[in-house]
C-alpha cells in the first residue's frame, strides 16, 4: 500500500479530584494517606500566605521583583510529595510549594528575590531558581544521568512553564533524556500565560503534552490543580524513571492567578472573567472541601492554621530581612575555587586599574 500508516498514538488526560468535587476513588486508592492530605493542605496554606507576604514585601520596597505562585501550588507540591530525598528537583521560579516541602528554607527564597546570592545556597537536592527561561531542564538531565552513571536510582524532576517549551534547550533536554535513556521527569506547568503571551503563541498544538511525542517519550496531560492527580502521574513517571530509566513528559494544566511578577500588570492583556473562572478551580478550594467532607478539617482548624502561618512567615521575613548585608568581598570570593592574583588585586583595592600599583599589587 503506497500510503500507509507510519505512526499512531494517543495521549491520556488524568484527573482525580476535579473542580466540582468529583473524586475518583479507584485511581486514588492508596495514593495519599488521609493524614498526609491534611499535612499537604496545611503546607499549601502556608505557601499561599508566604506568597501574599512576599508580594507585600515587594510593594513596600523591601524586596525586588517577585513572581506570585498563587493558584499553582498543587503542581509542584504533588510532585515534591511523590519524590524522594535522593531525587533532584530542578525548578523555575513558581515552585515554592514543592521546594518548601522538600526542605528548602523559605527564607532562602526571599533572599533570592532580595538580590542576595545566599538565597541560592541550599542544602537539599534542589537547584537555584532559574532566571533564564528554559535552560534548567538540561541540568536535570545531567543530574539524572549522574545518578544513573553511579548505578543509583535517584531521578531528576524538572519544572518549567508553557513559554519555556519554545526554547531550544527544552528540545535538547527532552531529546537527550529520551535518546540516552535517562531518569528524568519533565513537568510543564501550563498556566495559560508567559508574561503577556498566551499559550497559543508558544504552542498552537491541541495539547502541550504532545511535545513529548517528538521524542517517542511517554506523555500525559494532568489537571495541575488536582493534588491527587499530580501525585499519581509523578509517581508513575518516577517509577518509569527509576526502574526503566525512561523519561516522561507531563503537561500540568494550571493557571497563574496573579500577575506574571510584581513588575507586571496583567490587566493590560487579559480579561478578569477568565481569571474569575480559574479562581473557582483553585487547588486549595477543592482540597479543603474534600477534607471537610471527610471530617478531616473544619473552620476552627482553618483559623488556627491562619495564625500559625502568620507567625511562621513573620519569622521567615525577619530572618531574611535581618541577615547582615553581603560585603564587596563576596563579589570576588566565589568566582573561582581559588582567587587568581589579578582578581585579588581588584578585590583588595576595589579598583580595576592598577595605575600607581606595583606588579605586586602595592601602591594606591
Amino acid at each position: 500500500m503506497p500510503v500507509d500508516c507510519a505512526f499512531e498514538i494517543a495521549i491520556e488526560r488524568v484527573s482525580i479530584l476535579d473542580e466540582h468535587g468529583v473524586f475518583d476513588e479507584s485511581l486514588a486508592q492508596g495514593l495519599i494517606p488521609d493524614d498526609d492530605v491534611v499535612k499537604l493542605y496545611r503546607h499549601m496554606s502556608m505557601c499561599r500566605h508566604f506568597d501574599e507576604i512576599a508580594f507585600k514585601l515587594q510593594r513596600s520596597g523591601r524586596m525586588g521583583t517577585y513572581p506570585e505562585n498563587r493558584g499553582q501550588e498543587a503542581t509542584s507540591l504533588g510532585a515534591a510529595y511523590a519524590l524522594e530525598d535522593k531525587d533532584w528537583m530542578v525548578t523555575c521560579y513558581r515552585e515554592n510549594a514543592g521546594l518548601f516541602w522538600r526542605g528548602v528554607d523559605p527564607e532562602k527564597i526571599l533572599l533570592h528575590w532580595m538580590g542576595d546570592e545566599r538565597g541560592n545556597n541550599i542544602s537539599v537536592r534542589a537547584t537555584p531558581l532559574a532566571i533564564p527561561i528554559g535552560t534548567q531542564m538540561l541540568h536535570a538531565v545531567g543530574l539524572g544521568w549522574a545518578s544513573k552513571y553511579r548505578g543509583e536510582d535517584g531521578i531528576a524532576c524538572t519544572f518549567f512553564g508553557d513559554g519555556a517549551t519554545s526554547e531550544g534547550d527544552f528540545h535538547e533536554a527532552m531529546n537527550f533524556a529520551a535518546n540516552l535513556d535517562l531518569p528524568v521527569v519533565f513537568v510543564c506547568q501550563n498556566n495559560s500565560w508567559a508574561i503577556s503571551t498566551p499559550t497559543a503563541i508558544n504552542c498552537s498544538a491541541p495539547t502541550l503534552a504532545q511535545r513529548g511525542l517528538a521524542y517517542g517519550m511517554h506523555c500525559v496531560q494532568v489537571d495541575g490543580n488536582d493534588l491527587f492527580a499530580m501525585v499519581k502521574v509523578i509517581r508513575d513517571a518516577a517509577t518509569r524513571a527509576r526502574t526503566e530509566s525512561r523519561p516522561t513528559f507531563i503537561e500540568a494544566i494550571t493557571y497563574r492567578l496573579g500577575d506574571h511578577t510584581t513588575a507586571d500588570d496583567a490587566r493590560r492583556y487579559r480579561d478578569q472573567d477568565v481569571v474569575d473562572e480559574w479562581s473557582a478551580r483553585d487547588p486549595m478550594i477543592r482540597l479543603r472541601k474534600w477534607l471537610e467532607q471527610r471530617d478531616l478539617w473544619d473552620e476552627g482548624r482553618e483559623q488556627a492554621l491562619r495564625t500559625e502561618n502568620e507567625i511562621y512567615v513573620k519569622g521567615v521575613v525577619e530572618r531574611a530581612g535581618g541577615i547582615e548585608p553581603p560585603t564587596t568581598d563576596d563579589m570576588f570570593a566565589w568566582m573561582y575555587s581559588e582567587i587568581p592574583p589579578v582578581l585579588d588585586l581588584q578585590r583588595r583595592t576595589l579598583r580595576t586599574s592598577s595605575l600607581g600599583q606595583g606588579i605586586d599589587g602595592s601602591g594606591s
Binding site: 532566571i131 508567559a194 508574561i195 548585608p325 581588584q346 586599574s353
Partner: protein, 322 residues
C-alpha cells in the same frame, strides 16, 4: 520639539520609521498588546496591528534567526530581546549568521536587522538582567553596536540603525530609560553611526564612555572641577578612534569608563589603541574604570560593582597626578 524620556524617544523613532517604510516591522516577546516589559513599544500594536508588531514565541534564537530570514527576504525587522542576558541564547544566530551573511555571500544576501536590547545594571533586577555585553559583539566582527546615552541621541541613532544596510545591535541603557527628559525634535532625523560625540570639551584629560555611565562621568567631572574632555562613543563598533585619538593627543591623558568587566572590554581596546596612536603624547597610562572581572552580582551589591562618580573621581585625580 518635545520633552521626552529615552523610552519615549525610542518609541517615537520606531513609529516614525514604521510610518515611513512598510518594510519595518517589530517582533519580540511581549512587545505587542503589552507594549514590552519596559513599555518601549507601547501603543504600536494598537496603531500598526499584528502584522507589523508581532508577539513571538519565547525563543531568542528563534527571534533573531527568523529576523535574519525576514531581512534576507527584503524586510527591515526590528527584533527586541527582552534583556541583554537573553542575547546569549541568540549568540549563535547573531555571530554565526547575522554578522557573516554579507561577507559569506559577497553581499548576495544581507541581514539588515536592528536588534533592540535593554542593557546594563542599576535597576535592582534579577540576575542576567544587568549585564553589559557590548565587547562580545565588538570582538565578533560584522555587526554594528550602538548605545545612546540620551533621548536625543537615541532617536537619531535608532533611526540610522533601522535604515542601516548592516545588522545593528541597539543597546538601550535601561537605567536611564526614564531617568531624565530632553528636548527631542518631533521630525525625523538621523545621527551618523560610527561617530562619537564630544559631550564637553577640555584640555587637561580625555574621558571616554557611553550609555548610562556617561551621566556618572559628567557628575565626576563636575565634582573634580577639572577641564576634562568627555567623549560619548555612541557607536561601539565601529568606534570612532579618530575622535578619541585626536583628543588624547591633545590632552595627553585618558580615562575610559564602562560597566562591563575589565578584561577584554572596550576599555582594553581603547587603551591599547590610544597607546598605539598617541604613545609619545601620553603623560600617564590610560586608566580604566570598569566593572570588575566578576559576574555582575545580585542586586544587593550591584552599585558596588558599577563605576560611580566616586570611583571615576579617584581615577581622575590619579591620572592627573601621574
Amino acid at each position: 520639539m518635545a520633552n521626552l524620556t529615552l523610552v519615549q524617544a525610542i518609541n517615537l523613532a520606531l513609529s516614525q520609521e514604521m510610518e515611513k517604510d512598510d518594510r519595518v516591522m517589530l517582533m519580540g516577546e511581549d512587545i505587542g498588546i503589552n507594549g514590552g516589559v519596559f513599555r518601549v513599544t507601547e501603543g504600536l500594536h494598537e496603531r500598526f496591528g499584528s502584522r507589523r508588531v508581532v508577539d513571538t514565541p519565547l525563543a531568542e534564537s528563534g527571534i533573531i534567526g527568523t529576523a535574519i530570514g525576514l531581512a534576507m527576504g527584503g524586510l527591515r525587522p526590528v527584533p527586541e530581546i527582552q534583556f541583554e542576558g537573553f542575547l546569549a541564547p541568540a549568540y549563535d544566530q547573531i555571530c554565526t549568521h547575522a554578522a557573516r551573511m554579507r561577507s559569506r555571500t559577497r553581499a548576495g544576501l544581507t541581514a539588515p536587522l536592528t536588534i533592540r536590547v535593554p542593557v546594563g545594571g542599576g535597576i535592582h533586577a534579577p540576575e542576567l538582567h544587568s549585564d553589559s555585553p557590548e565587547a562580545i559583539f565588538t570582538h565578533n566582527p560584522g555587526i554594528k553596536v550602538v548605545m545612546p546615552s540620551s533621548p536625543y541621541d537615541a532617536k537619531g541613532l535608532l533611526t540610522s540603525a533601522i535604515r542601516d544596510p548592516d545588522p545593528v545591535i541597539f543597546f538601550e541603557p535601561k537605567r536611564i530609560y526614564r531617568a531624565f527628559r530632553e528636548e527631542v525634535p518631533e521630525d525625523e532625523y538621523t545621527l551618523p553611526i560610527g561617530k562619537a560625540r564630544v559631550v564637553r570639551e577640555g584640555c587637561e584629560m580625555t574621558m571616554v564612555s557611553w550609555g548610562a555611565t556617561v551621566v556618572q562621568c559628567m557628575n565626576a567631572i563636575e565634582a573634580s572641577g577639572r577641564d576634562i574632555e568627555l567623549i560619548d562613543l555612541r557607536t561601539i563598533n565601529p568606534f570612532d578612534m579618530n575622535t578619541v585619538a585626536a583628543s588624547v593627543c591633545k590632552t595627553g591623558r585618558a580615562v575610559v569608563v564602562h560597566e562591563a568587566p575589565m578584561s577584554c572590554g572596550i576599555g582594553a581596546e581603547l587603551s591599547a589603541r590610544i597607546m598605539e596612536q598617541c604613545f609619545l603624547r601620553l603623560e600617564a597610562p590610560v586608566q580604566r574604570v570598569t566593572g570588575f572581572d566578576t559576574i555582575m552580582p545580585y542586586y544587593k551589591l550591584e552599585l558596588d560593582y558599577m563605576p560611580d562618580a566616586e570611583r571615576i573621581g579617584k581615577a581622575i585625580s590619579e591620572t592627573a597626578a601621574y
